[in-house]
Each structure stands twice: as C-alpha cells, then as structure tokens.
Symmetry: C2
Subunit: 276 residues, 2 copies
C-alpha cells in the first residue's frame, strides 16, 4: 500500500468487500488487486472504464477473465514468484509427513496409541519423483529435493528444453512408467480441470499408496453437498491421505514477497503507459 | 543372518527373548546382537566367557556397559551409519511439519476445523539452524538442509575442524546467540543426560516457539508415573509440540543398511582375531 501510494495512487484496503460492492464501484478504479474471493468476470469488468490492471496476490488466475480483460486493454498480472518458496517447502513437508508417518502417528499419539511397527518409515532416498508443471513452484520443489539423493524428472506441456541442475525434462509416458511420487504444480484451467482422473491414475505403473493434499475442489465446507461431505470424510479418515487447509503458499514471508512482486510489475505497466 | 551363517556362525533369532533367558544362556554365545530392549549390563556379561562382540542394531549404546565389556575383551560395535539417512529425513520432516503446521492442521481438519489464518506457515528459508552433535545423523540432517537456503552451524564437543560444505563449526556460545532452530544429535550418556534443562534453554537469545520430539525419557507408557503422564498429556495437547513414536531411524531401508554395516564390522573383528 505504501508503494502504491508513492506511485500516486489513492489506495483503498477492503478485504471484506462483497462482489456486489466491487461491481458497483469498479468504474472508479484504475487498478484492482484481488486474491481468490472476488471474481473478475465479464459482468464485473464491463463498467471498468478506468481500469488499467488486475493484480492477483498469488498464482492462480482462475477467478479472472483474462481474455475479456484483454479486450478492454486491462493488463492482468500475478505473483507466482512470491509464494514459490513457501509452496516448495510445503510440498517437501507433505512428502516427508507421508513417507515418515509424521501426521498420522501424531494423530495416533493424541489417541494414546504408541505404534512403532505400524509406523516404520519409508526413506525418500533413491526414489523417483515426477513433477508436473515446471514453473515457479515446481522448480522450487525440485531445488529442495536436490539434497535428498532422489531422481527428479519434470513434465511441462508449455516449455521446451527445461532440464536444469534440479530436474530432467521428461514426457508423461516416462513419468507414468518410472515415477513412484508425482507432485502437481499446474494452474486450474479448463485443460487441467479433473486432469487427475481414473484414466490418468491407471496409466501409472506403480499403484497409488496415498495422497497428500493442500487444495480441494470445493473449499467452502458449508456449501458441501452430501456427496462432497462423504468424500472428504473418507479422505480424512483414511490413514493413506494427509490434508492441510490450503496454506502451502500462505506464509508470513510470502505475503511480503507477493506485495513486492506485484508492486514491481505494476511499475512496469505504468512505465509503458504512465498514470494519467 | 545369512551373512553371519556364511561366516561360520550358528545364528539364533529371538526377538522376544527375556533378559533372564539371555542371562541364562549368554555363556554359550560368541556374539550378541541387540536393539535397546536387552541390557548388556555387568550382571548379564559376567558369565559371557565366549563372547567376542556385542553389536547394537542402531546408534545409542546406553543399554550396553561398554567399559565392563572392554575389561572382558568383548568388542562393542554399533551402526549409526545405517539409520543416519532415515533420521536426517525425519528431522527435516519434523522441522517442516512444525514451521508449516502440517501435523496440527491435519489434526484440526480431523476435528472439522478449517483454519487458514491460524495456520499461516513460516518459511525455513533464511533462518539459522544449530546442530548439536555432528556425527552421522547430524551430518545427514545438515546435508538435506543444504537445499533450503538456510544458515547451518554445528557444535560437536568431541570433534575439531569439522566445518564442511553443509555446516560451519561453531561454539555453543555462537549457537545460543544466533540460532532460531536447534537440532539435537547426541547419544544418551551421563554427560548428555538432562543436558537440555532450564539453564540450557535460558541461554538462547531466541525464546522457545515449540518442539518436535521423536525420543522420550520413558517410552514405556504403561510404566509412566502420574507426573510423567501429566507432562506427556500436556505436550500432546499443546499445539506448539509435535510428537512421533521414536521411529525416525526405523525405516524399512535402514533395517537392511544396519544389517550390512554390522556384518562388515563383525568381519573386521574376525579379521583381527578369527573365530576359533
């Protein structure tokens, strides 16, 4: 906010504003900074005659109609660099929690169960990991894996020649054949929606031992259908699944890093066309 | 067992044997391989006239009277190399579980609590870690930390000039002054018994945010005194403490690695004085 003010903006901070209130006042604004709650849809943007940019404090752009914004000359930016380290750390944490039974044995101890044989751990060393989506968070995860003596390969549909010191470029066929661990680092788009379906899972040579999840299709628990409730209840009570409440990228440090990234990108936009 | 048989030993595998039964038959054996349950004390060893070696499948030698064994020309060996990788991984897992609220938010979700703000994560990046005890497991932990962009220092009372690519040698005074994270990798000896007392903790500039524990003073829960029960109950129900049931080194992989290390060391003993 200080940075924007020093650029000449008047800044309003309204973390609890409703979608309707944004629609009613959008014509007054030159810029919009959102997380995931406000939908920057065509109906919101149609009256945004002054709007120069929409900035997403985070990575996913699924709540922003980027194509429509473009037709109105509104620049859309995000800040995946800002929480990549946090997400990379969280993915390693989930992986180790799964292989070393950290969350489940902690839960058992809460229930006064001291179980050693049942919690013998599996080392990560020597195993093969496939990363799907080799952008900021995928790379951060690969970098952290580099000290664990594992084989790391990555598939990214939109990149070419992206092998680096942390991961080797590979096709999905190679991942299906070779990987025991898969980490997903792709945005939600029409193309990735329900990508991990039965057909996808059945193509892996290794069968599924479990899952570690931080993000869910419907995170508004109060709106869960009976089926969604049943599925989530089943995941929660399976000792093969670890869950965290969509916090991988929400570190205290990333809040600041995201603000810095967005401020830099907004300055770049203004350098092209200064604020009138 | 196959390796020992091929060396000419007759091998008995008695994982559930009682202390008394070992005492009654110890005079028949040339070698004893133990975990932590059997106490190789003076009373057990006094009749061990044929005994050539005591091998600990694991690291800690606190259940073996090494000094007394030496007077009887019995060689004592352990296998800290065998589970060092597993322990190093587990320590990283506990550290990330703590800083990223992985075990506690998993527990909350079991209780139907979806709490994002309360579970904002803290990144490891940029923080300073102090390792106390720079042997096999301390080094394994340091190596794995090397991909997390942290500052890593190590204190070891019994080593000199041990700075390496993963950790910088430092005094305890420097650790007290600089470290936000301390990882303990020392054996239980009279010298380390209750080392982490109030006086020790008060010397740190940073005050305690929490603890991640895998090993406990009394792991036989059925023998806990009322006070021990109270203390453990308090630890379990504090969201500042994560606990696992002494499994850090008990990986499936380390079982095999420990056997290989012990077999190699037993061969070395026999090379000095062959089996008569």
């Amino acid at each position: 906010m200080e940075g924007l003010t020093s650029l000449g903006f008047q800044v309003g901070y309204e973390p609890d504003i409703s979608q309707e209130a944004v629609e009613h006042s959008i014509h007054l604004y030159s810029g919009l900074i959102v997380s995931t709650r406000i939908k920057a849809s065509e109906s919101l943007l149609k009256d945004a005659s002054l709007l120069r940019f929409i900035a997403r404090a985070g990575s996913g752009m699924e709540n922003i109609d980027v194509a429509y914004a473009k037709t109105k000359n509104i620049v859309c930016i995000n800040s995946p660099e800002g929480n990549a380290n946090s997400v990379g750390e969280h993915a390693i944490g989930l992986l180790l929690a799964f292989y070393h039974n950290i969350a489940t044995s902690y839960l058992e101890l809460q229930e006064s169960k001291w179980l050693v044989q049942e919690n013998r751990v599996h080392e990560l060393e020597g195993r093969t990991v496939g990363i799907i989506g080799y952008g900021n968070t995928g790379k951060s995860f690969a970098k952290k894996l580099s000290s664990f003596d594992m084989e790391v390969m990555a598939f990214d549909k939109y990149l070419r020649n992206y092998s680096d010191e942390f991961a080797r470029e590979a096709s999905m066929d190679v991942l299906f054949e070779r990987c025991e661990i898969i980490s997903l680092h792709v945005p939600l788009t029409p193309e990735t929606f329900k990508m991990v379906n039965a057909d996808f899972l059945n193509r892996f040579k290794e069968k599924i031992k479990g899952a570690a999840l931080d993000v869910y299709e419907n995170e508004k628990f109060e709106t869960h259908t009976t089926l969604e409730q049943q599925v989530f209840h089943e995941l929660l009570h399976s000792r093969k699944v670890i869950v965290t409440p969509h916090v991988a990228g929400k570190s205290f440090e990333s809040k600041k890093k995201i603000a810095e990234v967005l401020l830099r990108k907004i300055k770049e936009i203004l350098n092209v066309k200064p604020l009138s």
